[in-house]
């Protein structure tokens, strides 16, 4: 390895230089080596300029026979290895790119998901704590000012509507809030319950006046569907649950566990941040 190393350096340097000095010897090399163009010139025009002189005579004869016969093996091998290498690189790159795709891209790719984060609506982006009843721009809400106490979201299944003001705080904590049209058939509610019960960073409640049977939301993203078995619901939960939190590591415990509208004194058990 020591010999080709140092020699490779001058040879590549020379190509540039020889464009000035070595043009005359380079052109016969081209003419002789028919297909061997710049690559061959690199090797051929190396140090010994004299070699060209001696080479001139033989070149027309030798390259044709020898090159064709002898070098197929290595070329095929290298070609095959190069193909394998490219294959591995392609596979690797794709897997790396796909693996590093953020959850935001994954959820945005789900058909029907509305990305409210992209709208930069200050009313949705607001994160301050406010007492009492609050109004929201979407129904159900996907963000905005909220009560100091979140709704408990450790896989809690509420059988009556809960306060938006608490639920929005849970969204800030990374919870997926599954809502369904109030009065949805019990067997359909049961299907949804299975997606939530026992799973931290999720909560579920009926929602009055919902325009579709089901609406699933995290902070800034919402998906509305009519079929409780729609696979997009699971996909939405898988892609957003917990990672949608605006504060990593924040808990879904210690929140409000009652249903009904927000009360004036709903300080709950604290943990509001």
């Amino acid at each position: 390895m020591s010999t080709p190393g140092p020699e490779r350096v001058p040879s590549t340097v020379k190509v540039d230089k020889t464009s000035g000095q070595g043009k005359p010897p380079a052109s016969p090399a081209k003419a002789a080596g028919a297909k061997a163009k710049p690559g061959a010139a690199k090797g051929g025009t190396t140090k010994p300029g004299a070699a060209k002189g001696s080479g001139k005579g033989r070149k027309p004869i030798t390259p044709v026979k020898v090159n064709g016969g002898r070098n197929w093996g290595p070329i095929m091998t290298i070609g095959a290895v190069a193909l394998v290498a490219l294959f591995i690189i392609g596979f690797g790159t794709i897997s790396v790119i796909r693996g590093s795709r953020g959850w935001e891209q994954k959820v945005a790719d789900i058909k029907g998901v509305v990305n409210y984060r992209a709208q930069k609506n200050p009313l949705i982006d607001a994160r301050d704590h406010k007492d009492g009843t609050l109004t929201y721009v979407t129904s159900p809400p996907v963000g905005g000012a909220h009560n100091a106490t979140p709704q408990n979201c450790n896989g809690d299944v509420y059988d009556a509507p809960i306060a938006n003001e608490h639920a929005v705080h849970s969204l800030e904590h990374g919870a997926v809030w599954v809502t369904y049209k109030q009065g949805l058939a019990a067997d359909q509610v049961a299907v949804l319950t299975k997606k939530v019960q026992g799973k931290d960073y999720t909560l579920m409640s009926p929602y009055a006046g919902l325009d579709k049977n089901v609406s699933v939301q995290v902070w800034g993203y919402q998906l509305k569907v009519d079929d409780v078995n729609d696979p997009r619901i699971d996909e939405f939960i898988k892609d957003t649950r917990e990672v949608a939190a605006l504060e990593p590591g924040v808990s879904c415990s210690g929140g409000n566990t009652t249903t009904g509208p927000v009360t004036a004194a709903s300080t709950g058990t604290g943990m509001g941040n």
Partner: protein
Amino acid sequence: MTVSTDPEATPDTVASGDDLTPTRGRRSWILVIAALLVGTLLGLGIGLVVPHLRTPGDNSVEAGFLRDMSTHHAQAVEMSMIVHEKSTDPEIVYLASDIALTQHGQIGYMQAWLRDWNLSPSSSRPPMAWMPDGAGAVVNGLMPGMATPAQLAALRQATGKDLDVQYLTLMRQHHLGGIHMAQEAVKLSHNKDVTWLAGTMVTAQQGEITLIDNLLKKLQAS
């Protein structure tokens, strides 16, 4: 093979070795460069792929354990926070804060590893699917040892000695389920971090069960 011999020969053999040397020299250089390129590409490819082969995948025992144990721990934090706020027994209050802080901290470890491995905290597979016969142990989405919504509601209502006894009983059950899962992870996983954390869970929670039993005895005697 020709690659290694020919380049060395270039300057000298050009003069001495007659017939094919100039062309062979050129060929060799192409081969050397091609080999180097292929080697570099291969190296890049391997470098890209290998780190992903070395971290656990989406359906691995490790990912399943970290996800499920995070959920399992979250309920222990939930119950402990209720009791930490409402109990009047200093020993129970301390135990509750110890469990809540430790398990919430461990959730942080587990979530960070999933993140390191480029895995989502959520799986499309059912809970406990990483354990042989695990899925059968899940009742209404609850893993072994987890309290039911009704039990949690009762705990939120309870006060005084009743609260303490309910908490200790639920937490004892919770630990037993957690220990079982952690033991399985130690057995099934080859990831050093995961087996280490799961191993410490087994030891610590077994110790806490002894403590819980003593506290229960004391409460029942009072």
